[in-house]
Amino acid sequence: MRRTVGALLRKELLVELRTLESVPGMSLFAVTTFVVFHFALNRNVVEGDLAAGILWVTLLFAAILGINRLFVADAEEGGFDGFLLAPVDRTAMLVAKALTLLAYLVVLELVAVPAFALLLLGPSLGQALPGLLAPLALGDLGVAAIGTLVAALAVRTRARDLLGPLAADAGAL
């Protein structure tokens, strides 16, 4: 199982490094959204529930961009068939995809959280970071698990671009 997950994870990250289809889009979306909030609210500082809400909603919507594309290469290039023909545990694909999404989320947050701090957070990032780390890590684990499941269910449907986000939102709620 570990060998299979390793092979799948390596393949996923290589494909993303070559195409840059998910992580740059997710990061750009998050940063742009913070810029929009910055000007729309006409405030340099947000606090409490409002700050948490802006951060989580933005990260969740950015994650959906990655979730939507998580299985696309496999569906379009015969990756599922290639995997199904191998004598390996099917669960390995779900685990590898969840780890891939987790990696995407971590990279997203490395870009998005400093941008959030710069544009909308009162205290400096250094002050806020200790309090953010644990919720972000737990949130990432949840989004990665639910997002992978949703992406796997949605990828074979014609309305996957709609179904994926709706189901991911419902799951996150």
């Binding site: 390793g6 393949k11 290039e77 995997f83 199904l84 023909l85």
Partner: protein, 225 residues
């Protein structure tokens, strides 16, 4: 025991019957060539035998395993070369083969050996999207035989290959490979030359099933009229 044994196989896509009442038997080491016009059910038959589609009726045994219940026992023992190469366009030939080698628990040595055999060792570090269709097909052939499968399921295996490449892959997927093979073909001459048994499909039904020596080209041509 036959390598492939199919009795009254049925497979539907929604209301449409893709295969109906198809029966055949193929001994180990033999080659079955399947002829039939587009939409006759050839690819569906291959995908059922490959465990990628469940049969909706009848019984299917592949390498002694009853499908779909014992599909796990046959995966890894068959190689499928279909219309899609089952390779990632953004990865190189080497990366694709190494990925499949890991899934099948095959060492890197075999990957290098196959890249040399299909003469792709010189272009093995380039993404597949930059290669010609013929080159991608050669890599797909290497992927198909990477794990030394007992049964080869080949859907128009020479598509996109030039004559030199056809000769190149012959030791891997041709009769010289010594493997049991099921081949879908539209080439009556080439197909008959390879076949021990011929199956003709039309509208999902078997209209011809005989030893190749007893079939002439006119009967194959009739399938397409």
């Amino acid at each position: 025991m036959p390598a492939v044994e199919v009795e009254r196989l049925a497979r539907r896509y929604g209301e449409r019957e893709a295969l109906s009442e198809v029966s055949l038997s193929l001994q180990e080491g033999q080659t079955l060539v399947v002829f039939g016009p587009n939409g006759a059910g050839k690819t569906t038959l291959l995908r059922v035998l490959a465990t990628l589609l469940r049969p909706h009726g009848g019984s299917v045994r592949v390498l002694g395993a009853r499908l779909p219940d014992e599909a796990w026992a046959v995966r890894g023992r068959l190689g499928l070369l279909g219309h899609e190469p089952l390779l990632y366009r953004e990865l190189t030939a080497y990366e694709n083969l190494r990925y499949h080698a890991r899934l099948h628990d095959v060492g890197d040595q075999r990957v290098h050996e196959l890249l040399e055999l299909v003469r792709m060792d010189g272009r093995s570090r380039e993404p597949l999207r930059t290669l010609s269709r013929g080159m991608v097909q050669r890599v797909a052939v290497a992927r198909t035989v990477l794990h030394a499968p007992e049964l080869l399921l080949l859907d128009e295996p020479h598509a996109n290959l030039d004559p030199a490449a056809v000769e190149l892959v012959a030791p891997l997927i041709g009769s010289a490979s010594g493997r049991t093979r099921v081949i879908c073909s539209h080439d009556p001459s080439g197909g008959l030359a390879e076949a021990d048994v011929v199956l003709g499909l039309r509208g999902g039904r078997a209209t011809l099933l005989r030893r190749a020596a007893e079939v002439d080209r006119a009967e194959i041509a009739e399938l397409y009229r």
